[in-house]
C-alpha cells in the first residue's frame, strides 16, 4: 500500500506504522467518529465515570469487545486497527482471568493492563494539554501586537578593507601580465645531412691536398645564425664519406682545425 510504504520511508521501519499498515486512516474516522481504537477505549473509560487512574481495565476490555461484536452483528465495516486491538484485548482478558503463570519472559496481565491504562492516561493528558494550550492568550486572537510597527530604517555602510600586500601583488601581477609581449619562435634554418653532403662532394671535387674544412665553406658561413648548422652538418657528412673511403680527415689536436682531402688510392678502393 502506498501509504504504508510512505510511512516506512518517512519514519523508518517503526513497528507502530507497520502494525497499522493495512488500515486506512480515513476508515478509522468512519467508526462513529472515533480516532482509532485508543480513542474508542478512552471514550469507554470515561464512561466508567471514575478517575482514569482507577478504571477497571477488565471492565473496559469487556466493553470494547462488546462494542466490536455489536458492530460486527450490524455488519459495520470495522477498520483493521479495531480488530487488532480486539484480538489483543481478548488476549489481555485471558491473561487477567487466568491464574498467573511463572513465565518471566512474558509480561503479566497486570503489567499489560497497567501499560494500557498508562497509554490511555497519556492520550487524555495530551488532549487536555492541547486544550490548555489553545485556551492561552494567543497572539492575534486574544492579545495583539502593535498594529503599526514602525519600521526601523537600516543604513548600510560598507567598510572596505584591503592589505598593502594585496595591493602590491595585484599591481605587480597585472603589470607583469601586460609586460609580457608575445614571443614568436623564429624558424631556424637547418642544413640537412643530405644537402651538406651534396655540397661537400661538389666543393672538394678531386682535391688531393689537405685543406681546413671551413675553407670549402667560406661562401656559406657569412650568416652567423647558420654557421653552427653548416659546420655541424658538413662535418657529419664528411664522417660518412670517410667511412665510405672517399675522403680522409685529419685533426692535430682537440679543437684544432679539421683538414680533409680526397682519398689518394680511390682507384684501389674502386676495384
Amino acid at each position: 500500500m502506498a501509504q504504508s510504504e510512505f510511512q516506512d520511508q518517512f519514519d523508518g521501519p517503526a513497528g507502530v506504522a507497520d502494525s497499522r499498515a493495512v488500515s486506512d486512516p480515513t476508515l478509522v474516522v468512519d467508526v462513529d467518529g472515533f480516532e482509532g481504537p485508543l480513542d474508542l477505549l478512552l471514550t469507554l473509560a470515561r464512561n466508567q465515570k471514575v478517575d482514569l487512574t482507577r478504571i477497571s481495565v477488565l471492565a473496559l476490555v469487556e466493553q470494547y469487545l462488546e462494542f466490536v461484536s455489536e458492530a460486527r452483528r450490524l455488519r459495520l465495516e470495522l477498520a483493521a486497527d479495531y480488530l487488532v486491538m480486539a484480538a489483543w484485548l481478548a488476549y489481555l482478558k485471558s491473561k487477567l482471568l487466568l491464574p498467573e503463570q511463572k513465565d518471566e519472559d512474558e509480561p503479566t496481565g497486570e503489567e499489560l493492563a497497567a501499560a494500557l491504562a498508562f497509554r490511555l492516561r497519556r492520550l487524555e493528558a495530551m488532549r487536555e494539554a492541547s486544550q490548555k494550550l489553545m485556551a492561552r492568550n494567543r497572539l492575534g486572537r486574544d492579545v495583539f501586537a502593535r498594529g503599526m510597527p514602525e519600521t526601523t530604517s537600516v543604513e548600510h555602510k560598507n567598510i572596505w578593507s584591503a592589505s598593502i600586500y594585496e595591493l602590491l601583488s595585484a599591481y605587480a601581477t597585472q603589470r607583469q601580465r601586460q609586460s609580457v609581449t608575445s614571443v614568436r619562435v623564429a624558424r631556424r634554418t637547418v642544413w640537412s645531412l643530405q644537402e651538406a653532403r651534396e655540397l661537400l662532394v661538389k666543393l672538394i671535387g678531386r682535391a688531393a691536398e689537405w685543406a681546413p674544412i671551413t675553407s670549402y665553406l667560406q661562401d656559406y658561413l657569412y650568416d652567423e645564425d647558420e654557421w653552427a648548422t653548416v659546420v655541424a652538418s658538413t662535418f657529419s657528412a664528411s664522417l660518412e664519406m670517410v667511412r665510405e673511403g672517399r675522403i680522409e680527415l685529419r685533426q692535430s689536436a682537440p679543437f684544432a682545425p679539421v683538414y680533409l682531402r680526397t682519398r689518394a688510392d680511390e682507384d684501389v678502393h674502386g676495384t
Binding site: A2, Q3, F6, Q7, D8, Q9, F10, D11, G12, P13, A14, G15, V16, A17, R20, S23, P25, V28, E35, G36, P37, L38, D39, D81, A115, F118, R119, R121, R122, L123, A125, M126, R127, E128, A129, S130, Q131, K132, L133, M134, R136, N137, R138, L139, G140, R141, D142, V143, F144, A145, R146, G147, P149, E150, T151, T152
Partner: protein
C-alpha cells in the same frame, strides 16, 4: 527638565519597591526601551535592546520597572520566547474584533499532534502515532509545519533515522510562552510520568526541549534526503 521630573515621580509611585539607584532614575533609558519595543514588529531580547541603547544602560532593571508600570494599563509589557514585547491586555480581547486575524481552524488531530510535539519534543512521527494510537496523516504534520509552530529538528539516531519534530520560536510567541518550560501543566505531567516514552522502557523523565542544538540521539537533518521526503507524492 519638567517632564523628566514628572515621569520620575510617576515611576517612583508606580514602582515603589524598586531598589534605590535602580532603573527608575534612568528616565531616558526607560523612554528609549519603550520606543524600541513599541516600534518593533517582533519581540526583542535584552541583548538586542542593549545593543541599541547607550552603553551602560541597565536594561534588565528598566524592563522590570516598565513591566510593572504597564501591568495595569491597556497595553502590557510581556516576555515571550525570552524576548520582550508589548501586547494588549488579555482582558480587553472583546474590543479587538477589528484587529483579529483570521485563524486557521486546526483539526482535533492537529491539535493533539501539536501538543504531543510541544510536550514530547524532540519526537518522531512514530512516537506521535504511538501516543495517539492512530497513524498520523501526512496532512496533519504539514498543516502544523505550515503554521510555523513546529519544525523538523533533525534525525533520531535509530534505524531508519526518522525525522524529529520540535516547536519553534513562533510557537512561543503565538502562545505567549516565555520558554518551552512554561507549557501549561508541564510539571504535573512530568510528575505523573506522562511524558515518559513508555515503549522504550526509559525511566528518565524527559523535559521538552526546543533548543536549537540537537540532543545526543539526534543527527542534523540532511537536506538531500529531507527534500526527498518532502516531495513524496503521497504527501
Amino acid at each position: 527638565m519638567e517632564r523628566e521630573a514628572d515621569l520620575l515621580e510617576v515611576s517612583d509611585r508606580m514602582a515603589g519597591d524598586h531598589p534605590p539607584g535602580g532603573a527608575a532614575g534612568d528616565v531616558e533609558g526607560m523612554r528609549m526601551v519603550e520606543a524600541l519595543l513599541f516600534a518593533s514588529a517582533t519581540p526583542l531580547s535584552t541583548d538586542e535592546l542593549a545593543q541599541r541603547l547607550p552603553a551602560g544602560t541597565n536594561v534588565a532593571a528598566i524592563l522590570e520597572t516598565l513591566t510593572r508600570t504597564y501591568a495595569a494599563r491597556g497595553v502590557n509589557l510581556v516576555q515571550v520566547a525570552e524576548k520582550w514585547c508589548f501586547r494588549t491586555a488579555d482582558d480587553l480581547t472583546f474590543l479587538m474584533h477589528e484587529s483579529m486575524v483570521e485563524q486557521r481552524r486546526l483539526s482535533r488531530a492537529a491539535l493533539e499532534t501539536l501538543a504531543i510535539v510541544a510536550y514530547h519534543q524532540p519526537v518522531t512521527r512514530a512516537e506521535i502515532e504511538e501516543i495517539r494510537g492512530v497513524s498520523t496523516s501526512k496532512g496533519t504534520l504539514d498543516v502544523l509545519l505550515e503554521t510555523g509552530w513546529i519544525r523538523m529538528r533533525g534525525r533520531r539516531r535509530t534505524p531508519g533515522r526518522p525525522v524529529t519534530y520540535g516547536t519553534t520560536e513562533a510557537f512561543l510567541v503565538h502562545f505567549g510562552l516565555e520558554t518551552i518550560k512554561d507549557l501549561p501543566g508541564l510539571e504535573e505531567l512530568k510528575g505523573a510520568g506522562l511524558l515518559d516514552s513508555a515503549v522504550p522502557a526509559s525511566f528518565m523523565v524527559p523535559t521538552p526541549d526546543d533548543a536549537d542544538t540537537l540532543s545526543e540521539d539526534e543527527d542534523p537533518l540532511d537536506d538531500g534526503s529531507l527534500f526527498e521526503d518532502a516531495r513524496d507524492p503521497d504527501a
